[in-house]
């Protein structure tokens, strides 16, 4: 469908694969970038978009495959290499030096000098001012980056990338922190760049935004490219179909068991934010034994923070929690785990696993005092506990003495779940339990959640995936801006109502709702 005029293609990825310890992030992807066009890349969380872009920008090297620039094979040793060849990138996570000024940030690593080494600050400020003026955001080049709002920082990041005079400019979710007017400014800048022949690679979750400014669109799912089209030929339906795939997710069916008595209750949980305000704002909820309560919300809605408060990870949090009707006075994680709470954290690598230890050590880490007889860990008892979990959760591992980092993402996640289950919790908090794992493992995780609920565990799980929360939950709680903005029974919940509740108190509410109700 797309015009295959090869001379338009400035950069081409051929059969690129990238493997991280534990996950295959990108699988044999082929991707083309055309000049003078906005090349859109979409996909769900963890589909591998950011990894693919980091490969183009020289931040990561592909494990296998080729990068062709102007038809010639290249390999980037560093992002400096890529910049030298005219590839600039606006990163999703801000890569600014907050202790330096805006101008210094924009010209970091290519400082304008006068004489031999002396940095010409005046000239830098003047030139930075030109770029910033085009963004019309009222940012002065001599301001410190740490004094700017997140949205303004994002614009500085964009100004920095634009100032590179790049031939290829990658934007990874550039609008995620921008207000509506700032988005309009950004789009004008993009049009301008396009007219000058710059190839833009644009990543975003906001579908109607993509349709508006995109020229071609490429869809990524589970690390593989599943569709490539000209934007003229498609609609949001098509994108969603490619993103989710025809093999709709295998959610375990509800088995119709009735939840029991209340096992957990949180009252008025609040957590102050460092920058003022509350990141969790007086949230109260209750959970029955055998019930799965889904907590839905967008990024930054306060889901993870709520879970952290419940686990006692923030000493400055307020509010009360009860387990089986008894108030939990203990404020530290260790003793809350003993009272029957357990958390599956969102960030598996950083908070879930000790990646250099074995599968067995990771599984038993939280429950050693249970397994140990006074202070002696009996190898037999430990082995038994490990084998039980490996069998119960279908963890694919040849030998539990293997390092946990050698497992696939899905199996690593099962190890984290197994670790929590070995503490024999009454309430399980799961933060994005299906993030970054493949379809098969997701189905296993969902089945496990159902089974645990049937066994009488109360499960609280946070997700930003609408399908997931609709299919798995007995009840759905919606959070927005730190507040609980909705509570639905499964029977009465509709996608539209949930999306609307999740957008309360957000500036970009209407646009999000619009995008989701289209399909």
């Amino acid at each position: 469908m797309t015009a295959e005029t090869t001379d338009d293609v400035i950069l081409r990825l051929q059969d690129v694969t990238k493997v991280y310890a534990g996950t295959v992030a990108v699988k044999r992807a082929n991707f083309e970038v055309r000049r003078g066009a906005v090349n859109v890349l979409v996909g769900e969380n963890g589909a591998g978009k950011s990894t693919l872009m980091k490969i183009i920008a020289g931040v990561e090297r592909p494990t296998q495959g080729k990068i062709l620039l102007d038809g010639k094979e290249v390999s980037f040793d560093s992002s400096g290499d890529a910049v030298a060849r005219g590839i600039g990138m606006v990163f999703q996570e801000l890569n600014l030096f907050s202790n330096l000024s805006v101008a210094e940030n924009i010209f970091a690593t290519r400082e304008i000098t006068s004489g031999l080494w002396k940095i010409d600050h005046k000239e830098q400020v003047r030139r930075a001012g030109e770029f910033l003026d085009r963004l019309e955001a009222g940012i002065r080049p001599d301001m410190m980056v740490e004094d700017l709002r997140i949205g303004q920082q994002q614009l500085v990041e964009i100004a920095k990338a634009v100032s590179l005079d790049a031939r290829i400019l990658i934007m990874d979710e550039p609008t995620s922190a921008l207000s509506a007017t700032e988005v309009e400014i950004l789009f004008r800048v993009i049009e301008d760049l396009k007219a000058r022949g710059v190839a833009i690679v644009y990543i975003s979750h906001r579908l109607e935004e993509l349709i508006r400014i995109g020229d071609t669109i490429t869809v990524l799912r589970d690390g593989q490219i599943t569709g490539h089209e000209g934007v003229k030929n498609i609609d949001t339906q098509w994108i969603v179909r490619q993103m989710i795939g025809s093999d709709a997710k295998d959610f375990a069916k509800p088995d119709g068991h009735q939840p029991g008595a209340e096992v957990f209750r949180a009252e008025e949980i609040s957590l102050p934010r460092e920058t003022g305000g509350l990141s969790v704002d007086h949230v109260s909820l209750s959970l029955k034994a055998g019930e799965i309560l889904g907590v839905y919300g967008l990024m930054g809605a306060g889901r993870s923070e709520l879970f952290d408060c419940i686990m006692g990870r923030h000493s400055q949090s307020t509010g009360r929690i009860f387990i089986s009707g008894e108030e939990v006075h203990e404020r530290d994680t260790t003793r809350r785990i003993r009272r029957g709470l357990a958390l599956i954290p969102e960030d598996r690598q950083r908070e879930g696993l000790v990646s250099i230890l074995s599968v067995a050590s990771n599984l038993t880490m939280a429950s050693l005092s249970r397994i140990a007889n006074f202070f002696h860990i009996s190898s037999k008892a430990e082995k038994q506990a490990v084998e039980q979990m490996v069998a119960e959760l279908a963890i694919k591992v040849a030998d539990p003495a293997q390092e946990v980092s050698s497992l696939s993402g899905g199996n690593q996640q099962k190890v984290v779940i197994g670790k929590a289950l070995l503490t024999q919790p009454k309430v399980l908090l799961m933060d994005e339990p299906s993030r970054g794992i493949d379809v098969g493992a997701k189905a296993d995780v969902f089945r496990t959640m159902r089974k645990l609920a049937r066994d009488g565990l109360g499960i609280l799980f946070a997700t930003s995936d609408l399908d997931e929360v609709m299919a798995l939950s007995d009840r759905i709680a919606v959070m927005s801006n730190g507040k609980l903005t909705g509570m639905f029974d499964r029977a009465e919940a509709t996608e539209a109502a949930i999306v609307a509740a999740s957008a309360l108190g957000h500036g970009k509410a209407s646009r999000m709702a619009g995008a989701t109700t289209n399909d």
Binding site: D332, T333, L343, G352, S361, M365, L368
Partner: protein, 354 residues
């Protein structure tokens, strides 16, 4: 890039794994190598008398290195052990000679067992100070223990005004004789210090392997955040490792004073560096999470045998330092190469499957 990866992958099952095994056994191979080398190059090297003498030398460093191993596994460092050795030696010497003056006309003299216990407690308490600085006051381990290094050394010098406590034989009428047993005594013709080393080493190895605390030490070093979320009491674990390190240093202070029958306040200077070297040589990773007591003991033996053997061969002490330094650097370089090889083999295998 692609080509090399492909080749490594092909070579992995045979050459790669052979190389990996060799690399993993490197400290052991180094130990055998130095023993074989010196038994040929240095006469009398293998005589019983020499072996026992060397073991006594090695034991001192091995104690410190064991304490250091646990500290390094939690991603910390303990620079204060040398000073604790000096201060604890002085404490023991002071108690033997002067007892404690109660300021009311009485002076309490302790027997040797009590003196040993008090000295050990002093070592543990200094370790606890390190631990509190690091966990409660959030001082970086390097800085905290550097500070304690100076403070402890200063107190050691103050305790005697810089002079030595001589002749610690004790007096029969005060009931504090027998202090020399630790350093000079033998049981079954093996020095007491070696027996103590065996007991402490077995205890430490057991702790590392078979107790929740030992596992938690590794978890804290491997990923402190994950350990905390799993309910590990991170602060307590850290307190313990510094206290254990102080305990080991106190043992060394006692043994040295007992051997010499005198306490000198400068004893133990730069011992911390030898201890770190032994731990690293034995495969303890400075970034935390990895290390074994067995490896550290072997590391201590390699360093000890190397320096004693070179002395026996008449190599100048200046060259000894150069050689010791090179051995440590080579050990760490091989260690890094092993990690890289290992992770590459795993990744390539996963790319193939995935």
């Amino acid at each position: 890039m692609t080509d090399t990866s492909a080749r490594t992958a092909a070579a992995a099952p045979t050459g790669g794994s052979m190389l990996l095994t060799l690399m993993k056994l490197r400290t052991f191979i180094a130990l055998i190598a130095v023993i074989v080398f010196f038994s040929i190059a240095a006469p009398n090297f293998l005589s019983t008398a020499n072996l026992i003498l060397m073991s006594k030398h090695v034991a001192l460093n091995a104690f410190l290195a064991m304490g250091m191993t646990f500290v390094i596994i939690t991603s910390g460092i303990d620079l204060s052990v040398g000073s604790i050795v000096g201060l604890c030696g002085m404490v023991a010497g002071y108690l033997v000679l002067n007892g404690i003056d109660l300021q009311i006309g009485y002076t309490v003299y302790f027997n040797v067992i009590e003196i040993i216990l008090i000295t050990l407690v002093v070592g543990v308490l200094i370790g606890a100070v390190n631990g509190i600085l690091i966990t409660k006051l959030n001082v970086a381990p390097f800085i905290a223990t550097l500070g304690v290094l100076y403070v402890a050394r200063g107190f050691a010098l103050l305790s005697s005004g810089g002079s030595t406590f001589p002749n610690l034989a004790g007096k029969a009428d005060l009931g504090n004789t027998g202090f020399g047993f630790l350093g000079a005594g033998r049981i079954l013709n093996i020095p007491v210090s070696i027996w103590i080393l065996i007991v402490v080493a077995l205890g430490a190895a057991y702790l590392a392997r078979y107790t929740p605390l030992g596992r938690h030490i590794f978890a804290v070093g491997g990923n402190e955040r994950a350990a905390r979320i799993s309910g590990v009491r991170v602060d307590m674990v850290k307190m313990f490792v510094y206290m254990f390190s102080g305990f080991c240093a106190a043992i060394v202070g006692l043994i040295i004073s007992s051997e010499l029958m005198a306490s000198h306040p400068a004893t133990g200077e730069s011992f911390e560096l030898n201890a770190i070297a032994a731990a690293v040589l034995g495969g303890t990773s400075m970034s935390g999470g990895r290390g074994t007591i067995g490896g550290t003991i072997i590391g201590a033996f390699v360093i000890g045998i190397l320096s004693d053997g070179l002395v026996m061969m008449g190599v100048s002490s200046f060259w000894q330092m150069v050689i010791k330094g090179l051995v440590i650097i080579v050990a760490v370089v091989v260690d890094q190469a092993q990690r890289r090889l290992q992770s590459r083999v795993t990744l390539i295998q996963m790319a193939k499957i995935g």
